[in-house]
């Protein structure tokens, strides 16, 4: 025991400590260039309740179902489902690439749609990526609004949705107009909302199942899971807007 105490003491004693000042100055300059992003969170008490509900939902419903889903669904099928939904919703990145005056990405997404819908078996296989070198651009209306200078508004964490902002609500709403389901099911007289929500739920559930370990680690990767998710959302969203 005494040996361990000596060892700890000397290890701490001999741990190198370098000059703080130069690094602190450099770090401050770097951070001033990239300030910590902030988002207004006036609904925090309510968001924290919703966050807890979502976490319980994940732990006791979503995770067990996702484990069974992962067991019975081969990974290539899961990837195929993800590819098919992205392909089906291609008008969203195509339109938003045009709104952002990015003709190159609009062209790439159109090529992806044509190639993947035909050779890629209705979008099940993403052949455009290895064949043409065109990756998904994931451009959407939230990104277009961000690029146009619209702020996030306020932060929210609604049940069954997760982190988001007021701007994202408008973005998701506008994206609906570019989804073929909206028009296909309207014209056939069926309420399209159910289908839109169904596809949305499938897309997100499939994505969670494919990345189950990452969602599962939330409580050991963070001191404050609510803050961690909010910070990750902000940084991801900023990165998306910068692209």
């Amino acid at each position: 025991m005494k040996f361990i105490s000596y060892f700890t003491f000397f290890t701490l004693l001999t741990f190198p400590v370098y000059s703080e000042d130069e690094f602190s100055d450099l770090l401050s300059e770097e951070l001033e260039k990239e300030p910590v992003p902030e988002i207004a969170d006036p609904l925090k008490p309510m968001n924290e309740v919703f966050f807890a509900i979502n976490e319980y939902g994940f732990k006791f419903i979503l995770k067990p179902v996702a484990i069974v889903y992962n067991f019975v669904t081969p990974r290539f099928v899961q990837r195929g489902i993800d590819n098919s939904i992205y392909n089906f919703h291609s008008p969203i990145p195509i339109a938003n690439s045009l709104f952002q005056a990015n003709l190159s990405d609009a062209g790439k997404e159109t090529s992806r749609l044509l190639v993947n819908s035909t050779i890629g078996l209705a979008g099940f296989i993403d052949v455009a990526d290895p064949l043409l070198g065109y990756k998904r651009t994931n451009r959407d209306t939230d990104q277009t609004l961000g690029k146009a200078g619209f702020g996030w508004g306020i932060y929210g964490h609604p049940p069954l949705y997760g982190p988001g902002s007021i701007r994202e609500v408008f973005g998701v709403g506008a994206d609906t107009f570019f989804k073929p389901t909206t028009y296909i099911f309207w014209s056939s007289g069926v309420i399209s909302l159910y289908y839109t929500l169904g596809i949305y739920a499938m897309k997100n559930f499939n994505s969670i199942a494919m990345n189950l370990e990452l969602y599962d680690n939330l409580y050991r990767d963070s001191f404050d899971p609510y803050d961690y998710v909010k910070s990750a959302y902000i940084q991801n969203n900023l990165k998306k807007t910068e692209r």
């Binding site: 040996f3 000596y6 060892f7 000397f10 290890t11 701490l12 004693l13 001999t14 741990f15 190198p16 400590v17 370098y18 000059s19 703080e20 130069e22 690094f23 602190s24 450099l26 770090l27 300059e29 770097e30 951070l31 910590v36 992003p37 990974r75 990837r79 990526d129 290895p130 370990e213 990452l214 680690n217 409580y219 050991r220 990767d221 963070s222 001191f223 404050d224 803050d227 961690y228 910070s231 990750a232 940084q235 991801n236 900023l238 990165k239 998306k240």
Partner: protein
């Protein structure tokens, strides 16, 4: 052999081992090489099927501590609060925080255990004192996970990582507000308690 002599021997051994453990690593020539070397070593360890999980962890830990700077990571994550700690608290926090980041890193590394490291870009900034090395890891499904490393050219040591960003999410930014809030409520003891709690969960 008398007790006094034996104690002296133990003390000498403790000091020798401690110094050996803390000796500065071989100076790294440039930031790109630092990341390339560490990354390729880690990937080859992860791919080595003959190694047991604990052996893999040990070897990766050694590379991690040679490549990542405990003190600079702590400074980047705590920012202004770092200066409020005593020297002993700084050392202890740096060790605990680095251990937490190592566990975090090992946990994620295991998810990407059959990959290839790509150096996308390496840029030196601030008169060669800071560098950003942008890397990508090819995932089994063909997608590339972007991991960018920020390095500081530590005098007499060389290039060491003080921050990293996984898919747009930066380590220091993500933990800064959480640690600041813990420090505000529980000062240094609060930080220590929370770090120990999370380390136990891995």
């Amino acid at each position: 052999m008398n007790i006094k002599h034996q104690r002296k021997k133990i003390m000498t051994l403790v000091i020798a081992v401690s110094l050996l453990l803390q000796s500065p690593v071989e100076a790294q020539a440039n930031p790109k090489d630092t990341i390339e070397k560490a990354g390729s070593q880690i990937i080859s360890i992860l791919k080595n099927k003959s190694l047991k999980k604990t052996a893999k962890k040990e070897r990766i830990s050694k590379i991690f501590y040679e490549t990542f700077s405990r003190q600079r990571m702590a400074q980047a994550a705590l920012r202004s609060n770092y200066k409020k700690l005593t020297d002993l608290q700084k050392k202890e926090f740096a060790k605990l925080f680095a251990r937490f980041i190592l566990e975090f890193y090992l946990d994620k590394m295991e998810l990407y255990n059959n990959n290839k490291l790509i150096i996308r870009e390496a840029v030196e900034k601030r008169k060669g004192k800071i560098a950003l090395v942008k890397t990508g890891i090819t995932l089994p499904n063909g997608n590339i996970a972007e991991i960018d490393y920020s390095l500081y050219n530590e005098p007499s040591v060389g290039w060491q990582v003080y921050d990293f960003e996984i898919e747009g999410v930066r380590m220091s930014t993500t933990y800064y507000s959480q640690l600041a809030s813990i420090y505000k409520k529980g000062k240094y003891e609060g930080l220590k308690k929370e770090l120990k709690r999370l380390i136990k969960l891995y």
